[in-house]
């Protein structure tokens, strides 16, 4: 532990590595399930929970996960109940939640470094941030270990999966919960807004000609790890914030994306 304390870069480097592997892995599952829009929703819905948890003296990540998940369930419930366009309902809840979170900060009289929450502050990451990432990592591994076949079936043929006895609602809820955990755990690395870049870009590269979900996950994670480490190193050399730099690198990576035939 004393080694970690005297070498400031170890925790940020470990955070970069774990986030760089975890986000693209989660993104691969979400993109193949056509649920990437839900990530945007959850990431915006995290803020009110963070504020409330801080006001109640709780770990902010618990509040963030709960409010992220509540937002996702509310969007799905409202869409089904009112028979309305999911994307429109989702964007309304997304904007409303972000606004509500911003309003809560002065109303509850709490202090939050909003810039760090939204865009990350990797160089100030501490041991509890790393622990959060490890918990999210474990949740994702559990999801794959216990539900890989079912996730593949739902991603490929949701109705067929349901009719052959797969509990689709439960697995979607588990997917939403794990997504919320991943977003909150990535907060200190790339922030809840920029996390979408790490969830999508490496996945686009990893999915190319992958013959199974496992292979796509593994490839995306490798691309994500490389992108994150390059971004982290450049941020130190250029004295720039790592989160935004990693996001910009993700955009540049799109140049190398082969044409989909």
């Amino acid at each position: 532990m004393s080694y970690i304390n005297t070498n400031w870069w170890i925790v940020p480097l470990l955070m970069t590595s774990f986030t760089g592997v975890l986000c693209p892995a989660m993104g691969t599952v979400l993109i193949t399930h056509k649920r990437l829009l839900q990530v945007n929703l959850i990431s915006h819905c995290v803020l009110p929970g963070l504020a409330l948890a801080l006001a109640l003296g709780m770990d902010p990540s618990i509040g963030g996960v709960i409010s992220g998940l509540v937002g996702a369930i509310a969007a799905e419930g409202l869409t089904n109940k009112k028979n309305q366009n999911y994307e429109a309902v989702m964007n309304t809840i997304l904007a409303g939640s972000m606004g509500f979170g911003v309003l809560l900060i002065p109303l509850l009289g709490i202090r939050i470094d909003l810039e760090a929450v939204l865009f990350g502050d990797l160089l100030t990451a501490n041991f509890s941030d790393l622990l959060r990432t490890l918990i999210a990592f474990s949740a994702f591994i559990c999801l794959l270990f216990f539900g890989y076949d079912k996730l593949v079936h739902i991603g490929l043929d949701p109705e067929g999966a349901a009719s052959s006895g797969v509990n689709v609602s439960f697995l979607n809820l588990a997917l939403g919960f794990t997504t919320a955990l991943v977003i909150v755990s990535s907060m200190s690395a790339v922030g809840i807004i920029l996390v979408i870049a790490l969830l999508s870009t490496p996945t686009l590269l990893g999915l190319q000609k992958a013959s199974s979900l496992w292979i796509a996950i593994a490839r995306s994670s490798i691309f994500g790890l490389v992108l994150s480490l390059v971004g982290f190193s450049l941020a130190i050399v250029l004295n720039l914030p790592p989160g935004p730099l990693i996001s910009v690198l993700c955009v540049l990576t799109l140049i190398f994306l082969p044409k989909n035939t």
Binding site: T32, K34, D149, K150, V152, H153, G155, L156, D157, P158, E159, G160, A161, S163, S164, G165, V166, L207, K209, A210, S211, S212, L213, I215, A216
Partner: protein, 231 residues
């Protein structure tokens, strides 16, 4: 093997709208190939979903060998319309086919190989799903359905992506499946010569309009001038 019998099935999606199906009765005998034809919105997919037990009829009952469908759902397998599947999912043909047994016992390599051979695509086992033609994808989907080890197979518009030669090949495959003792019930928009490949034809337009061998059904529908307006 047992027949599937549906008696007086009525089903509505909402109490405010007309029933999607009214008083539909039919019998599917073992080892037969039956076509279910009708225009768009006739209730073909609804009927297949009822027969598979995905939803319950408002009235009427479905039995297999005299026992309620509810206790015998494992004997019926449904092949969905191609639009219901995510064809860009990263998976190979053998990966897709092995999912046919996902909630039952694990499939063996022999079963997988047998299912692929029955539909004539064992040489494509390692190929990615999105690298196949529409016809090959439909065959892969049929192989997945065959892994269910059911006796009664309901195929929802399986020929929708086919050109005429591919359709003929597919009809040949399902004819062989029926000849091997399986019960095959195929929904289709087809009307004309291709119906002669079936043992029996059922014409549905919310109610059963005609049922019998292809020649009988075509004669009956011609006599009521139905074809001119609907099919």
């Amino acid at each position: 093997m047992s027949s599937l019998i549906a008696e007086n099935l009525t089903y509505s999606y909402s109490s405010k709208i007309k029933p999607a199906l009214s008083n539909v009765s039919l019998e599917l005998e073992p080892g037969t190939l039956t076509a279910l034809v009708g225009p768009n919105g006739a209730g073909k997919s609804t009927l297949l979903n009822l027969l598979q037990g995905n939803c319950k009829p408002d009235q009427g009952e479905i039995t297999i060998g005299g026992k309620p469908l509810f206790n015998n759902r494992f004997q019926v397998a449904l092949m969905p319309q191609r639009g219901k599947l995510n064809w860009n999912f990263p998976i190979t043909v053998e990966g897709l086919v092995s999912l046919g047994r996902v909630n039952h016992s694990k499939s063996t390599c022999c079963e997988l190989e047998a299912a692929l051979q029955r539909v004539g695509i064992s040489h494509l086992a390692k190929r990615r799903l999105d690298a196949l033609s529409g016809g090959q994808q439909q065959r892969a989907l049929l192989a997945k359905t065959l892994m269910n080890q059911a006796k009664i197979f309901l195929l929802d518009e399986p020929c929708s992506a086919f050109d005429p030669p591919a359709k003929e090949d597919f009809l040949l495959i399902i004819r062989q499946l029926a000849d091997s003792g399986l019960t095959i019930f195929v929904s289709s928009h087809d009307w004309g010569a291709s119906l002669n490949s079936y043992d029996k034809v059922v014409v549905l337009d919310k109610i059963i309009l005609a049922s019998g061998n292809p020649q009988e059904v075509q004669a009956k529908l011609s006599s009521i001038n139905y074809l001119r307006w609907k099919l």
